[in-house]
Structure formats: structure tokens, C-alpha cells
């Protein structure tokens, strides 16, 4: 089934015409409502009427996460707060979060996009869906929730953190669908197996996202639970989950192109690459009112395919992600930058600035260990002082990253001091 056939199956010419009209309107809107963009356009000598069609998009300057940080919290909003009905936030590269705001219409469009994705996954109003993304500042929970509600499914807002309750309700309610991170779903499958509940569930589909996953994980989820699993993509800067999703043919993720214009760019020249070639993904939010962004660099590496899919949808498809341009990690669905750890540790005077993050996956759950060295003057002969320090650092890190990390104090000078760009991360997961 297709949720919005008019938009999802539009001919390429019609889509280009729609994108062109929307881009022209967007540029004019941003020029007049966002001072930062106006200045950015003026700096390269661009006026709104220089943008006449979607092809002109390459004339426009890029937007990055740093731009959001520099204009923290609401500097890039195009409307006054009286029109913003919700904000969400994600990890920034340093102490400050990346904040986005939504108008009522933005939320409507968001739930429309999620509804398309849920429909791609075969979910309908007859389904009972457990939303097991975190509810709160993170876009996953509320985003998936609104979309599932829009299609009329029975929404069970589980949020995260209680696998026992989730599996019990999955069985008792006869849940037929679930939305969560793929690694969490694998964990859930283990819990179900351990409790001999696998033959008692009615699950048929899972819509998984918020972190990269491999084809191997996809197959494993499907065979362990005997369900169909779908890959949903999004990022809070653009909207949240629902920017793209894969259909039953799993030949790339269909982008909601009438709302988010995708570009795949050569990482060296930042010019668009041909279909099938790998580059950095950038999005322009064609219809957003609250915090519209032009050519926002996602730092995700992918390729694009504009051909019509076997499912009948004409929307462009982006391939499974091939990596990142920057050093961002996704741990338990949460975006983590090593620079956040660095910024947090500066506030702990007992430790040196050297640190190492070790990321792993144990029983399908991500683990993060942070190794730190204690400054010579804080050495102690008492265990409880070291344990107290470990706790203190753990708390500081939890506050900064929003996830728990195991803190390990190591011997002095044991962490690698590298020349030039320091290596701060060992990621033992095989995600790409």
C-alpha cells in the first residue's frame, strides 16, 4: 500500500517542477525571515530572484551543524516563538545541544512523512504498534508516535529502558509492529527467546532506525522474529525520523522528496555526483517553517538512485549508509561526538586531557568505555577515593552525552599520545 500516491508516485518532471516552485518560495522566505541566511546569501552576492528552479540550488551556500551551534538556541528560527509549538534537541559537537523548532504545520508534515514510512512497512490502522524509541528531546519517540497515530494504528508509547515490560506487553497486547533501534530489537529478540515467548508474539513488522545497521543485522532480525524489518532514516535538523524509509523491495530508502530535497555530493569538490556514486548527503527542507535549512550537510555517506522502484514509488532512493564524513558515533541511537567528551572532561580537574573511547556491542547492546588518566597530584592510596572519582566522571559524562559510560581510570601515560590528529575512538562494532 502507498500512503500518498500523488506525491510518492509523481513523475520525475512533476516532482522537479514541484521542488523548483518550493525552493524558489523557500529561498525568498528565508531571505526575509532568517538574518543569518540573508547575510550568507549577501556574502556570495545572491538575491532570492537568482534562484529560479531546483537546478539553481548549487548556487546556494551550505548549512552545517556548526551554524546551528553558533546560533544557539533559536537564532535560525524563521518564525517567532508564538508560532513554534514544539522544540527538540540533539547532540551538539561541544557542550551545547542542537535545537530545532516546529510550527503546527511542520508537525503535520512530519507525521505525514512518518505515515508514508509506516505504510511502506505495511503498517495500517489495524496494527498495534509499540514505540520503543526514547520520548523526550530526542525526535525518535514523539516523531514515530505522531506518524503511527496519523495512520490510525493503536499506539503503545513504550519509550526505552524496560525490556521486560516491553516483551510482556508485546505478548499480552498482541502487538503486531514495533519501532525502535535495530540493536535494541535484536536485544528484545534475545529476551523473548530466553523467556520462551517467541511463539507467543504476533509481531509482523519492525520499523528500525536512529543508527546504522548492516544487511546481516537486517536478516538476523527478520529470521529471529519471523517478521519484516524496515529501515527508517531521519535527523532532527531536517525533521526527525521519516525523512526516508525503505519499502518491501529493500533497494534503498525512499526520500520524502517533495519535502526534503536530497543531494549527494563529492566530498572533495562538494558538487553533485552521478546516481550510484558515493558522496555526502545534504538536504534542503522545502516546506519547513520553523527552522528551514538549505543544503544541510548530514555528514552521512551514501549514493542516490532516481529510477522508479519496483514498488511503484518514483521517489529517489538513498542507499544504506556507507559511513560518516566526521567522527560522530551513534551509541544506543544517541549521537555522540568525541569533542563532547573532551569538553566534559575539561571540567574534571583530577584528570588529564587525554582520553580514549572504546565502543563495542555486547549482547546486541552498545557499550561505551571511557579511559582517563588521573593527574599525578590526585593519586591516592585509598580505593574509595578512586571509586568516588570514577563515579563523578561517570556523572559528568552522563550529563554531557545523555548516555551512561563505563569509566576506567588507567595508568599515567598509558593512553596514546599521537602526533597531529589524536585518535580518541576505538569502535569495535562493524556497522558499515
Amino acid at each position: 500500500m502507498i500512503w500518498n500516491e500523488t506525491k510518492e508516485c509523481m513523475s520525475r518532471d512533476q516532482m522537479t517542477a514541484l521542488q523548483s516552485a518550493r525552493l524558489v518560495k523557500l529561498v525568498d522566505y528565508m531571505y526575509h525571515n532568517v538574518e543569518f541566511y540573508r547575510k550568507k546569501m549577501q556574502a556570495v552576492g545572491l538575491m532570492p530572484n537568482d534562484i529560479k528552479s531546483i537546478e539553481d540550488i548549487t548556487k546556494l551556500p551550505f548549512t552545517t551543524k556548526d551554524d546551528l551551534r553558533d546560533n544557539y538556541p533559536f537564532g535560525l528560527f524563521a518564525v517567532p516563538n508564538s508560532q513554534i509549538v514544539r522544540v527538540h534537541a540533539s547532540s551538539g559537537t561541544t557542550g551545547k545541544a542542537t535545537v530545532v523548532g516546529y510550527t503546527r504545520r511542520d508537525l503535520d508534515i512530519w507525521s505525514e512523512c512518518v505515515a508514508r514510512c509506516m505504510t511502506m512497512a505495511g503498517i495500517t490502522k489495524d496494527d498495534i504498534i509499540q514505540i520503543a524509541y526514547g520520548y523526550g528531546l530526542f525526535t525518535g519517540g514523539l516523531g514515530a508516535h505522531d506518524g503511527a497515530q496519523k495512520i490510525g494504528a493503536t499506539v503503545v508509547p513504550m519509550s526505552t529502558g524496560n525490556s521486560q515490560k516491553l516483551t510482556t506487553m508485546m505478548v499480552d497486547f498482541g502487538a503486531t509492529a514495533i519501532a525502535c533501534t535495530p540493536s535494541y530489537l535484536l536485544h528484545i529478540s534475545e529476551v523473548l527467546a530466553k523467556e520462551n515467548l517467541l511463539d507467543k508474539i504476533k509481531l509482523k513488522a519492525a520499523i528500525c532506525g536512529a543508527e546504522p545497521w548492516t544487511e546481516k543485522m537486517h536478516k538476523e532480525i527478520e529470521s529471529r522474529l519471523n517478521i519484516k524489518a524496515f529501515d527508517i532514516y531521519g535527523l532532527s535538523e531536517i525533521m526527525g525520523p521519516g525523512v526516508a524509509c525503505d519499502c518491501e523491495f529493500h533497494k534503498g530508502l525512499h526520500v520524502c522528496e517533495d519535502h526534503f530535497y536530497p543531494e549527494v555530493l563529492d566530498t572533495a569538490t562538494m558538487t553533485p555526483v552521478a546516481d550510484g556514486e558515493t558522496g555526502e548527503l545534504a538536504f534542503t527542507t522545502l516546506t519547513k517553517e520553523g527552522i528551514p535549512l538549505i543544503r544541510y550537510r548530514t555528514k552521512d555517506l551514501t549514493s542516490i538512485d532516481h529510477s522508479t522502484c519496483d514498488c511503484g514509488r518514483t521517489s529517489a532512493r538513498i542507499s544504506r549508509f556507507k559511513g560518516r564524513v566526521d567522527d560522530m558515533l551513534i551509541i544506543r541511537g544517541v549521537n555522540v561526538f568525541p569533542s563532547q567528551v573532551e569538553a566534559a572532561l575539561v571540567n574534571v580537574e583530577e584528570v588529564t586531557p587525554h582520553y580514549m573511547m572504546i565502543v563495542d556491542r555486547v549482547n546486541n547492546l552498545d557499550t561505551l568505555e571511557i579511559q582517563v588518566e588521573v593527574d599525578q597530584k590526585y593519586y591516592t592510596d585509598e580505593i574509595r577515593v578512586i571509586e568516588g572519582l570514577t563515579k563523578k566522571i561517570g556523572h559528568v559524562i552522563q550529563q554531557a552525552l545523555g548516555i551512561n559510560a563505563k569509566i576506567k581510570i588507567v595508568e599515567p601515560l598509558s593512553l596514546v599520545r599521537s602526533q597531529g590528529k589524536a585518535v580518541h575512538v576505538i569502535d569495535n562494532r562493524k556497522l558499515y
Binding site: V374, Y379, D381, E382, I383, I386, V410, E411, P412
Partner: protein, 142 residues
Amino acid sequence: MFAKQLTVFIENRAGRLSEVLSVLKESGVNILSLSLADTTEFGLLRLIVDDAAKGKERLTEKGFSSLLSDVSIIQITHKVGSLQELLKAIDANGVNIEYMYGLSIESEQAYVVLKASDINKLMEILEANNIRTLSNQDLSEI
């Protein structure tokens, strides 16, 4: 009288303890007693040696984190209940014992290393109870 204890922080990995001891051996530092407090991640090796300052210096040169701290080495009679009686007196005065371990046993006398929350107050208590303590000077003569 205080004595200096040498403490070394060591990660729990194979061979690390032996590496510390080999540094001391090569430096000619004699170990009189030791206690290893271990957790799952790390251990604190507490040592009473004949020359704590030299031990620390050599360990630092070799990249180990070590420190010197003040402890009391007390001499008590080697008979049932003598340590308990002393601890009763220490407790009564509000001094907390952070950790303790045995040093060596002569036929009549035993030695116990004590780390207290307030070492000065502990000394007063020990004096009031006529407890003999060992100094670094005493240790170097063993």
C-alpha cells in the same frame, strides 16, 4: 611516629604487578610488607619498604604512578584480643581506620600497618595506650 608507605596504582592486567616488583628489585629496595587492594579494574599496591623515597623515585622514572602517604606501624603484643582492645580505644576517640594490614611477626610481637582518618589524633591515642610505633629510620635498619 609516622612511617611512609609507598602506594602504586596498577591496572588489572597480566604481568603488571611483576613489573612493579622488578623495578624495586633493580633499585635494591627491600619490601618489608605489602597489601594489594584490588577491584575489577585496578589495584592499589601498598608497600612498606626500607627506602620509600627511593622506591617512589625509581617507579616514577619507569612511568608508574606512585605516592607516599603517612601511616602508623604499631607494635602490639602477639596475643588474643590485643588488636581488638586497641581498636576499641581508637574507635572511642572517633578516629576512623581506612585500612590496615600486618607487617611481620616476631615470636612475641606483631606489627600492624594502620591508615587512619586522622593520623595525629591516632598518634595521641597510641601514646596514651603505650603503643610503640616504627619510623622510617627503624624500617631502614631491619
